[in-house]
């Protein structure tokens, strides 16, 4: 064994210093698991109001992480197990803010006796997403992805004890394990080709190999398939509607955004070295057509099936599938040339906006819940503007944003993706842009149906829903951001552009 050089040693010893916000989150997770069970009797009973304390601790931890993120160093480091660059900076910001919103969404959904575990899982998931962005090594990447999925099983399972929740939890568990296995198989093939798990070293190995990297192609196909499960890209989407329908609304809100964010960041991280290293080789010729088809099929299937749904959470699940199709457009056109706007930039912008609108929509659904039972059908929203005009207005904003109509940020996000695809100039990408427009029109049907039910129909009964403040705060914050981002989008767009310039 050769003696390691000083750079390698310092990259190991300094690794902990690069993940301080995540260490804060994981430290809080440890406190929750250590102290949580001592405040609950063995039969699971707890002081009423305990969940407010755990929620407050989670918020405090996330705010500390946000502060450390904002004041932390922005020095770019590309060696070692963690890679610190502007993508990391951006993802940390987006995920920490999303985590704040998710804590608020989860606040009233969880019993007092289970609040410690539930919020701990949420914090662990947040740290996992940040670590996915930080990963500079296949091993780190896999561990970070598992740090997201394992707490997610618990998070889905904890809120309710009925058969539907358990079915949803088990379904997600089995499929997630399956997808992890597929992805790990792909990693092992890439490792077999390159002889290393270090991403920059894999890029060098690919660039220097003079024959077609068959193993790497096969490996990447498996990895994309494994990640497509998390993204709920067609044909790996089939579990999403069932799981969304069965789990509590906070679980569905988490699933609708967090795995997609992690999956896209992992794909950006993996595809860039692999495709850029060998742009003329078969790799690009295989990967990009595959992503093209994945994107087109995902858009159409998501929207077609979305139209057929009557269950709100199933509809939002298919809406998520369709949005993954749009975002795959960005991934698809991100690797061609240096045109403006760049596909990856548009994708990162879209991810942030999509998170706001989907978490916001679920927050409204939670605020409109009756007797702690989640809203199920569209009929239960009928005439919402009569009983809760504020909630109806906010849900309308989110539906307009999901459909991509002004004056909401969803419109700008879609416009960016469209221009990114159109500006590439070659025929296949222009088709992609056209398919996106057709799908946006198809999608508006089922979003507008929700708005129609709220505003044009009479209420079925005089039920006012809950007045718990947490989900209302979350939805007001999301509405404010979705509308502000339409009128002043430049700051976010500048952030996204600095991400790409690094």
């Amino acid at each position: 064994m050769s003696q390691p050089d000083a750079a390698m040693i310092s990259s190991v010893t300094s690794a902990a210093g690069k993940v301080i916000p995540e260490l804060v989150l994981l430290g809080t997770v440890c406190i929750n698991f250590l102290v949580g069970p001592f405040l609950v009797t063995p039969s699971g009973r707890a002081l009423p109001g305990l969940r407010h304390r755990w929620g407050g601790i989670a918020i405090a931890a996330i705010c500390t992480a946000l502060y450390l993120w904002w004041t932390g160093s922005t020095e770019v480091v590309t060696t070692g197990p963690f890679r610190v660059d502007n993508i990391v900076w951006y993802v940390r910001g987006v995920m920490l803010i999303a985590a704040l919103l998710l804590v608020l969404v989860n606040w009233s959904q969880i019993e007092d006796g289970k609040a410690a575990e539930s919020h701990a899982c949420l914090l662990a998931i947040t740290a996992g997403v940040n670590l996915v962005a930080l990963a500079n090594d296949l091993t780190t990447l896999f561990l970070a992805l598992e740090l997201i999925s394992i707490p997610t099983y618990l998070f889905l399972f904890l809120p309710r004890k009925d058969a539907a929740t358990q079915e949803a939890g088990v379904k997600y568990f089995l499929l997630s394990v399956f997808s992890s296995a597929i992805m790990l198989y792909g990693f092992s093939l890439i490792y077999g080709m390159a002889g290393t798990t270090d991403l920059p070293a894999i890029q060098t190995a690919l660039a220097n190999s003079n024959q077609t990297p068959v193993l790497a192609i096969l490996g990447m196909v498996f990895v994309v398939a494994g990640l497509a499960f998390r993204l709920t890209a067609v044909p790996f989407h089939f579990y999403a509607p069932d799981v969304f329908q069965g789990s509590a609304a906070s679980g569905a809100a988490l699933l609708s955004f967090v795995p997609k964010l992690a999956g896209f960041i992992a794909l950006i991280r993996l595809l860039e070295p692999v495709v850029d290293a060998a742009p003329g080789l078969l790799l690009a010729d295989v990967m990009l057509p595959m992503l093209w088809w994945l994107s087109v099929i995902t858009m159409f299937v998501g929207n077609f099936l979305g139209i057929l749904q009557n269950d709100l959470r199933r509809m939002l699940a298919y809406s998520g599938v369709a949005h993954v199709g749009y975002m795959l457009v960005g991934l698809n056109v991100g690797h061609h040339t240096t045109s403006v706007p760049d596909g990856i930039e548009a994708l990162l912008f879209y991810l942030a906006v999509y998170g706001l609108m989907t978490i916001g929509a679920f927050a409204v659904l939670i605020a409109a819940e009756r007797d702690n039972k989640p809203l199920e059908t569209l009929d239960q929203l009928a005439g919402l503007h009569r009983v809760r005009p504020g909630l109806a207005l906010m849900l309308m904003v989110f539906m307009f944003s999901l459909a991509g109509m002004p004056p909401t940020a969803g419109f700008l996000a879609k416009l960016n993706l469209f221009f990114a695809a159109w500006a590439q100039g070659d025929v296949s990408n222009r088709w992609l842009a056209l398919f996106m427009v057709i799908n946006a029109a198809m999608g508006s049907w089922y979003y507008l149906r929700v708005v129609g039910a709220m505003y044009l129909r009479e209420p079925l009964d005089e039920h006012h829903g809950s007045h718990a403040p947490a989900p209302i705060i979350a939805s007001v914050a999301c509405t404010a951001m979705v509308i502000t981002l339409f009128f002043v989008p430049t700051w976010l767009w500048t952030m996204v552009q600095t991400v790409r310039s690094s």
Binding site: P4, C30, F33, L34, P37
Partner: protein, 125 residues
């Protein structure tokens, strides 16, 4: 190839030991034929009948706990072997970092252990 030759001898001894034992038990072992003993061995389950029997969830908890501590032990082996080997092992500059990593690992497991204990996983109810 010397190292591989040792492996070959080891494999030979291993296979020979298993075969010898199988033959010996047949020759010198007592043979009392009862219905239970004639059944195919299936880890204590009845091999005949419906396979879909309810299975107490306690067994899974114990299995998971066993796995956790088993993996913990496996993780300690490479550390214990490499950390204090000197030449060819963990370089001297890294040994304190690696020691810290192991402490964090044990600390996390201790928290998990306390959690499991407090939740009553060790009680056979």
């Amino acid at each position: 190839m010397d190292g591989l030759f040792a492996v070959l001898i080891y494999t030979g001894v291993l296979v020979g030991f298993v075969i010898t034992n199988l033959i010996l038990t047949h020759i010198i072992g007592p043979t009392k034929k009862t219905a239970v003993k004639q059944m195919p061995y299936e880890s204590g389950m009845d091999p005949v009948g419906d396979a879909r029997q309810p299975f107490d969830v306690k067994f899974y908890l114990v299995a998971i706990l066993f796995l956790i501590f088993d993996v913990e032990l496996l993780f300690m082996y490479p550390w214990a072997v490499a950390a204090y080997k000197g030449d060819g092992g963990v370089p001297a500059e890294l040994s304190s970092t690696v020691y810290g990593v192991m402490l964090v690992f044990f600390g996390t497991l201790a928290i998990a252990y306390i959690y499991a204990w407090r939740k009553g996983v060790f009680k056979w109810r």
